[in-house]
């Protein structure tokens, strides 16, 4: 079974969120999601300084199989994007929770995180699929 780190928060649409102490959240897609999509060939990311809201389609992960929208799991301002993915989209496959991160957001409202799932909740949501 795929790995679901317990220190992360998750959306049912398969994004993960890691919150640093300074209110910056790093966003990626889960190992389970990359497994469903297969070999990644292109990743489209938002621009730095973009203002994003929960549920916006802000990025696209395109694999050999399909193009898949990635939705903002939190609201805020994009402060960094993972430029390494431009040349190495396969990082999403090889290290979904690490080097395959997508972008970082300065959160508008930290309490929004409470709407996300914990690892166990995410695992249950996958099992229902």
């Amino acid at each position: 079974m795929s790995n679901i780190p317990s220190e992360l928060k998750y959306a049912t649409s398969h994004e993960w969120v890691r919150v640093d102490s300074d209110g910056i959240a790093t966003v990626g897609i889960s190992e389970h999601a990359q497994g469903l999509l297969g070999d990644m060939v292109f990743v489209e990311l938002p621009d730095v300084d973009d203002s994003i809201s929960v549920g916006d389609d802000v990025a696209v992960a395109e694999s050999v199989k399909a193009a898949s929208d990635i939705y903002a799991p939190v609201s805020g301002t994009v402060v960094a994007i993972n430029e390494a993915l431009e040349d190495a989209p396969e990082l999403l496959n090889s290290d979904a929770f690490g080097e395959g991160w997508l972008f970082q957001v300065k959160l508008d409202d930290v309490s929004e995180l409470e709407n996300l799932l914990d690892a166990e909740g995410y695992k249950n949501s996958i099992d229902e699929d």
């Binding site: 297969g38 292109f42 696209v60 395109e62 399909a66 496959n93």
Partner: protein, 362 residues
Amino acid sequence: MTNKTVLHAKHLASGAKMVDFFGWDMPINYGSQIEEHHAVRTDAGMFDVSHMTIVDVQGADAKTFLRRLVINDVAKLATPGKALYTGMLNEEGGVIDDLIIYFFSDTDYRLVVNSATRVKDLAWMTKQSTGFDITITERPEFGMLAVQGPEAKAKVAKLLTAEQIEAVEGMKPFFGVQVGDLFIATTGYTGEDGYEIIVPNSSAEDFWQKLLDEGVVPCGLGARDTLRLEAGMNLYGLDMDETVSPLAANMAWTISWEPTDRDFIGRDVLTAQKAAGDQPKLVGLVLEEKGVLRSHQVVVTEFGNGEITSGTFSPTLGHSVALARVPRSVKVGDTVEVEMRKKLIKVQVTKPSFVRNGKKVF
């Protein structure tokens, strides 16, 4: 009820991700379809194609029957072992299936047809065989492997007997020969050098394992699709089906119009279509920017709309390519637009072939 090929256990042992392929439980990849793709372009990969249907057509009327059944003319086959790619049409001129025919003698031919169309192909052939002195025999007692890539032949040679090596030495493309237990053919679906090999079920696993031991990379249906698409080879069900004329599917080259008195099924319809010049055509599309062209996307041209029949990311080229059916007036070199994710994206029209022997060809 899901069918399993004779190599099913070997796929699981190699960690394959299995999917349902028209009733067959087949490997889609063994980890990374892109790495499998590159193995075939640069070294050697192998595919289990045992799900495909082998049909022997034999008897006094075998030649006459096949000259009626398919759009290419088996009378062109004079050298034993020579193969022919062609299509089998319905009365309306639509493609029932595409197939390869191996010639052994005027009374002995071997056909390899698609697995997804097996039932209707056999029913059609049986129906058309009325009045011909022939037998139509399926050969499920064999498995089939495709070993493809620049190093494929050298790696296969290590498994062959001296007699088999001598028989395949210098064999030209599109030939097949039965030597000992193996039927070895210089055919394939990747645009690379290599063999398709028919092997008795009883020795298939052993043969597969020996190829693994020689370093031949097992490849799934995912890589098979990107390889055939780069090579510009049609996939039945996507690029053509019973509603599509071979003239609209880049299969005109597989039609023998001469001699004019050969009455193959669909001939009258094709003759009228050719005279009218109104059939669309299958072209290649190339997108060098980000994004992947996909089946069923709409192609917008100044002569009207067309449709992508198959599209993919080309691992060899590093960008997307597609086959598309467009109005006949569209020319190679034109720029047309594809509707992708609610946006119109400009793409280049090319001949429907992108990579051969590891090299870009458009």
